[in-house]
């Protein structure tokens, strides 16, 4: 990685900089990422490559696989949307208002991070089951909130909330009060100020929060399986299907499904990141 050779002007890996240690830190980061993320994922793809193309396609076009993927991505998407709305609201309350117990509310937000997911799943299932506290009430209105996709969404909302709150909160704290005051002097009411001035500024953070909550939701296993009911074709999530295949010693099928999940997730996160970059360009940040 010598720089003198790269001076021809095409691709320069290293810009002269006063910040030291570029080579060392980049080398370390790459080695670390390779060891922790890339090698295991490559192993996964390698395993699924032991299948022939036809076998791979057969697993993919299997009705049960398709349904499981639909359930996983569909519920994760819905849950992430719900989390965006209420996560932003929670962040707003924590950032903007002084009230007794604010610190406690702030701490509670992190609980889904810390709680073993299985514990969360069992607790939620007990609450939302038709004979549980909340389930009984919902039953009166004819709503079934456990052992179906609705139950999965509830579990994923629980798991994903802190991702949205914790990404939006710091950006919200940085909002300049003067910008809101400026909007008010120009005649904007509260609603217009939020919609036209505050939310666009928060959009990148909200989008990141959405992406994190969504990615987490797609991969979530522990809390979901207790409340989902796990009915094939209806409320069976893809990670569970992988486990089922593993238990059948059908490693090829398990890795094939995993590989597809990997590709889909990567594609969606990439799209979200591209939107972010485009957004930043538009407002004249960075490049």
């Amino acid at each position: 990685m010598t720089t003198s050779a790269a001076a021809s002007g095409r691709w320069r890996l290293r810009q002269p900089s006063v910040i030291p240690g570029f080579g060392l830190t980049l080398g370390f980061s790459l080695a670390y990422l390779t060891l922790i993320i890339l090698i295991p994922l490559a192993g996964l793809v390698w395993r699924s490559a032991s299948l022939t193309g036809a076998e791979f396609l057969a697993i993919l076009s299997d009705e049960r696989t398709i349904k499981a993927l639909e359930v996983s991505f569909g519920t994760a998407f819905v849950a992430a949307l719900i989390n965006v709305v209420f996560g932003v609201l929670v962040a707003w309350v924590i950032v903007r208002y002084e009230f007794p117990g604010r610190r406690i509310v702030d701490a509670i937000v992190d609980l889904p991070f810390a709680l073993p997911t299985a514990v969360a799943g069992i607790a939620l299932a007990a609450l939302y089951a038709p004979n549980g506290w909340v389930g009984q009430v919902l039953n009166i209105f004819g709503i079934k909130a456990a052992f179906n996709p609705t139950g999965i969404v509830i579990a994923l909302v629980f798991i994903g909330l802190p991702f949205v709150v914790r990404t939006v909160q710091p950006i919200m704290e940085e909002i300049d009060r003067e910008v809101e005051e400026a909007a008010a002097t120009l005649g904007a009411n509260r609603f217009q100020t939020i919609r036209r001035v505050l939310l666009p500024g928060l959009a990148p953070a909200i989008l990141t929060g959405f992406a994190l909550a969504f990615a987490r939701g797609v991969g979530e296993y522990g809390s979901v399986i207790f409340i989902a009911g796990n009915i094939p074709y209806v409320s069976e999530i893809a990670p569970l299907l992988i486990v089922i295949r593993l238990e059948e010693f059908n490693y090829g099928a398990a890795t094939a499904i995993a590989t597809i999940m990997l590709c889909l997730s990567f594609a969606m996160l990439l799209v979200i990141n591209l939107i972010q970059t485009w957004n930043r360009r538009r407002y004249g940040h960075g490049a």
Partner: protein, 350 residues
Amino acid sequence: MDVSVKNIRKEFDRYPALNDVSLDIRSGELIALLGPSGSGKTTLLRLIAGLETPTLGKIYFGTEDASHRTVQERHVGFVFQHYALFRHMTVADNIAFGLTVRPRGERPPKAEIQRRVGELLEMVQLSGLEKRYPNQLSGGQRQRVALARAMAIEPKVLLLDEPFGALDAKVRKELRRWLREFHDRTGHTTVFVTHDQEEALELADRVVVMSQGKIEQVGSSDDVYDRPNSPFVFSFIGDSASLPVSIEDGAVRFQNETIGIAPRGGDIASGDGTLFFRPQDVVLVSDPATPALEGRVSTSRRLAGTRIADIDVGKPGEPHHVEIEVPLDAQASTGTVLRFRPTRWKTFAA
């Protein structure tokens, strides 16, 4: 539009930021609120805008009591020190904001808004930059966008909070001249806050000098510079020297010696007081028999067309430091003993 502030008191956490302040602002006037930080000048401006509510007192816009009107209803143009532009909007969208948030019935049609934005951009000399984002503009340009945005709603009063505070000296000077022209052209009642006295004296029709939540003096630049009405104003505006004096038998005495000046109209007639004078308002006294202030030069320095001498006057045990201007041809090197007398001065009761 006339604006009257009547007996305003504003407390933050029981601490008064403004204490019984009254001020009449005439229609079309360019007025400066000048004072050190913490003097309450920005609070007064924000009270006029409706961004703060007074603890006591009233604010009138014309004859109408505006004290309980919301910010939106007051229809003021407000320009912030750090611009407060909407960074996700283009320059054009920023300027149009005040028009586009109006209720549907009062909102001008799109073409009309576009025309107004074009006009305003021309007025602030930024035509051609309408598609830019605030991040792509310099500080001076941003502040002019902020001004155009405030002007778009055709405000009754234009309020500027340290509008040039975040700009470098050269841009600040340019914008200052430009604001004066802008004001003369548009004739808006304009109030601006500054802690830069040069800016206030140069720009404003009238200057409001504030200190510790009170108005010390309101007047033209000449008034506050030549006829300061309090020790604070005398020492805050321009350079000045002060000495503790007593006035007895029709003579001003310093450390019990007469110094060759007698109290005049506006001075205190007798008792202890403080003598204020400006460095340039002194004359050197060569005759050792004539009473005068006497002191030893501690340092002297050349400043453009004059020489400034730091002098310790008074008895050796209790020297008082003053700065005076001396003629370039006078002997004023370090250690020289100089005798001088103020030609213009003012005394205030101690």
